[in-house]
């Protein structure tokens, strides 16, 4: 993956959701949370905050100071803006926070990209300069907690919310461990009120949380990690494979990134539910979408809605003329692509999605498919199936840019797909692994299709079936996790 080698956590893997370390860490937190601190909200939140900082420091304790500084800055900014005696002072605090937050992101995430791109540009003009790149590692979760802080500061500036005066509660909002390293990107209006009130243990919610965790683990460990092995092999040696194998590679990556990120999100949401906290939903079966606009309402929902609320709407949104709509759509998708990483491949991926979606924005058909597909029916109609497959194919094509090491690599990859070699038999270089991976992807899609009307796939899975059937299914998932877990792959979104 581009940029992954710069990541601070890449070789540590100490507190991944799918690690034994986390399997020991979480029960301890759960017991302390519900049995020892449950009668005192302040103590309970303080304990959660300490646990969250411990969780984060397991990745790299040095960046805990950065997280603390960012948290403190936005906390103080919020209060200062509220207490500001004039608009000028309020604005000064607001921009101070924006500039410092953006500055952190700029230095850690984008400095090298800009320096190298600038040097490259000068080189094209005949000037040789040393770009002076920094040998820095990317603090895990920086894009996520920075966006938490930014939304909080913007909401206070716009007088949408009151600043939080309890530092522990605010710090917990930013650093709550289930969402700290890869989201969902929470809003103060959603999470803070939950942190301010006494949580009651809810049996149904807790059981549902466990189911969601199990499903997330299956998607991450069995689906994504096995797809990753095959996708890596094909993408890293794309020049040696024919077009049909490259199509397989693109499909494996398409399922890898979904299994990886939606699996992570399911574990995060399930973990939070065990603590009586609801996090924002991040995925809503995006690969069953019938058009690209629907896909973007169902993929990484917390980020899409963040960009909608804090970028697209302030720019004018879909109000105004056609060109304004096109401009705003391009901006939001390119910024979204750039948010994912400092590489032209992500920008291209964003631009392609903008191109996909612009016709529906201009023709105002982007809100045609608001409900989940085939609601109340078992199978989709042929038309629905055709639109799902078309949307999926377009998405898979765009993912090639996301996965490729460079723009040139992506173009080479795609040109080989659109060549005569696509009609050759694909290379089954790891036949057994490919077959097993195909089967687990099918299982994932089947279960998600069956559960697509619920917030997560296992929520009501087998609800009408005998209890032993459900239990048997859960044990089968665990067995799959034990046996078919792929090679230990990093969660993709940890690098962002």
């Amino acid at each position: 993956m581009p940029a992954s080698s710069r990541h601070s956590g890449i070789n540590k893997l100490t507190m991944l959701f799918n690690s034994l370390t986390f399997a020991l860490f979480f029960p301890v937190v759960f017991i302390l949370y519900w049995f020892f601190t449950n009668k005192n909200l302040k103590l309970q939140n303080a304990m959660l905050l300490v646990a969250s900082y411990f969780f984060y420091s397991c990745w790299d304790y040095r960046f805990l100071f950065l997280l603390l500084f960012s948290t403190l800055l936005d906390y103080v900014t919020g209060i200062r803006m509220k207490e500001a005696s004039s608009d000028r002072i309020k604005k000064t605090w607001f921009w101070l926070s924006i500039v410092i937050n953006a500055g952190f992101l700029g230095v850690f995430k984008y400095y090298n990209f800009f320096a190298a791109s600038f040097a490259n540009l000068l080189e094209q003009l005949g000037l040789n300069v040393n770009p002076g790149t920094l040998d820095v590692i990317l603090p895990v979760g920086i894009s996520f907690y920075t966006f938490h802080g930014l939304s909080y500061v913007i909401d206070i500036y716009k007088d949408r919310i009151e600043p939080e005066r309890n530092f522990t509660d605010y710090a917990l909002f930013v650093s709550f461990f289930p969402l700290l390293v890869a989201g969902p990107i929470e809003r103060a209006t959603h999470l803070l009120p939950q942190l301010k009130r006494q949580r009651q243990f809810d049996y149904t919610q807790a059981v549902d949380g466990l189911k969601q965790i199990l499903w997330g683990l299956f998607k991450k460990i069995v689906v994504a990690d096995n797809c990753a092995t095959l996708a890596n092999e094909i993408f890293n040696n794309s020049g040696a494979h024919n077009g049909s194998t490259l199509i397989l590679g693109a499909l494996f990556f398409t399922f890898q990134i979904y299994g990886d990120f939606s699996g992570y999100s399911d574990i995060a949401l399930g973990t939070a539910r065990l603590l009586g906290i609801d996090l924002l939903r991040n995925f809503a079966y995006p690969y069953f979408s019938r058009d690209i606009a629907e896909f973007w309402r169902r993929w990484h929902i917390s980020l899409s809605s963040w960009f909608r609320d804090y970028l697209y709407i302030p720019l004018g949104g879909s109000k105004g003329g056609t060109w304004v709509k096109i401009r705003n759509t391009f901006i939001i998708f390119i910024v979204s692509g750039f948010w994912h990483g400092a590489n032209w491949t992500f920008i291209a991926w964003g631009a392609i999605n903008a191109i996909y979606i612009i016709p529906s924005v201009v023709l105002q058909t982007n809100r045609n498919n608001m409900e989940i597909v085939a609601k109340g029916r078992i199978f989709p109609s042929l038309k629905e199936l055709a639109t799902i497959i078309t949307t999926f194919a377009l998405t898979a094509l765009a993912w090639i840019f996301f996965r490729a090491s460079s723009i040139q690599h992506a173009f080479d990859y795609i040109s080989r797909i659109f060549s005569a070699s696509t009609f050759d038999q694909p290379s089954f270089f790891k036949l057994k692994v490919q077959l097993i991976t195909g089967l687990v992807v099918f299982l994932m899609l089947a279960v998600e299709w069956a559960g697509r009307e619920n917030p997560h796939a296992l929520m009501k899975f087998g609800a009408r079936a005998p209890r032993f059937f459900r239990l048997g299914f859960y044990y089968m998932l665990l067995l799959c996790i034990f046996i078919f877990s792929g090679s230990d792959q990093q969660f993709i979104y940890f690098q962002f």
Binding site: S19, L20, T21, L24, W34, F201, Y203, A206, V207, L210, I221, L471, Y474, Y475, L478, F482, I483, F484, S485, G486, S487, D488
Partner: protein, 319 residues
């Protein structure tokens, strides 16, 4: 809450029971596997070695030194404990367990090489430790410094088999195809019946030369090991087996490393037989790559080494 805890515990109990049973079953089956290193680990840990002469080293011991030929000359039982892909540290794990579970040998022939005093980061072929590593202090101490297993893998039943699809597949093969579970190594030795391959040419294409890095803790470990052996009644012979001559030139600091071996040999008065200029080194026909003699070469060399060791031992007895 009580209901939740109770139900969760009842759900987890079968999982824990399964993990314990899977651990026991898989370990038991894998112990019977004859895949490469498994045979030697089983013999070492089950106390089946019973040899007068033990051969230590890496793959350059495993594929080069034939116990049968050496045993015929020395009129002794010989076992080859060469450990593929690993440097001194894990060779000493095998030595530790060998001494713990078996009768000690009278002589150790230790095949040393350029890589002996290096330290690798990854735990090459980690599956070989699976059946034996649960709650084993020695294996934990020697292997935990590598990028391989996590701490809990040494303590929690079943944990280390998590995602070990190849090991599970091997266990399945042992059960489903017992006829194909034939030993690959006889008394730890496996002659490789191959001609010169592309390994060396490929290495030369990739890098101009190789520079071995001496690891200080491993050097200390080496001296401690020699002190341990020389202070006992056991004869120790250090041997540098033939390497193809072009391959010797490929290692830039070869002489520096040879000097280390020579110095240690003199310091502790341990015989060191260096075959770097043996006539075998000048003929590719005896090698399958630059560092490994093929079966034909290994049989000739084993005979030659046995004669030299015999002279040494007779000389020592006479002295």
């Amino acid at each position: 809450m009580t209901r939740f805890i109770k139900k969760t515990v009842f759900f987890i109990i079968p999982v824990v029971a399964f993990l314990c049973m899977a651990d026991y079953g898989l370990s038991r089956i894998l112990k019977t596997s004859n895949l490469s290193e498994n045979t030697v680990w089983r013999d070492v840990i089950d106390g089946n070695i019973n040899a007068n002469v033990a051969i230590y080293g890496s793959s350059r011991a495993w594929t080069i030194l034939s116990p049968e030929i050496i045993g015929d000359t020395l009129h002794a039982s010989v076992y080859n404990m060469g450990l593929d892909g690993h440097n001194l540290n894990l060779q000493l794990l095998r030595h530790t367990l060998y001494f713990k579970y078996n009768r000690k040998p009278k002589t150790i022939i230790h095949s040393i090489e350029i890589f002996t005093l290096q330290k690798r980061k990854d735990l090459y072929n980690p599956d070989q430790f699976l059946p034996y590593m649960l709650w084993d202090k020695s294996i934990r101490e020697f292997t935990s410094g590598y990028e391989g297993y996590k701490t809990l893998d040494y303590y929690l039943p079943g944990a280390r088999y998590y995602g070990k699809t190849t090991a599970m597949h091997n266990a399945y093969n042992v059960l489903a195809h017992p006829a194909s579970n034939k030993p690959e190594r006889i008394k730890g030795y496996q002659g490789i019946d191959e001609q010169w391959n592309d390994d060396f040419d490929n290495a030369q294409k990739q890098i101009e030369f190789y520079e071995a890095v001496l690891d200080t803790p491993t050097m200390i470990q080496f001296e401690n090991y020699i002190k341990e052996i020389t202070s006992s009644e056991i004869n120790l012979v250090l041997v540098y087996a033939p390497e193809y001559i072009e391959g010797q030139k490929f290692i830039r600091n070869r002489q520096e490393i040879m000097n280390v071996f020579l110095t240690v040999s003199k310091k502790y008065n341990v015989p060191f037989i260096d075959y770097s200029n043996d006539q075998l080194c000048y003929d590719k026909a005896y090698f399958y790559n630059a560092t490994h003699l093929n079966k034909k070469g290994s049989e000739i060399f084993s005979g030659r080494l046995a004669s030299d060791v015999k002279k040494l031992l007779i000389g020592k007895q006479a002295g």
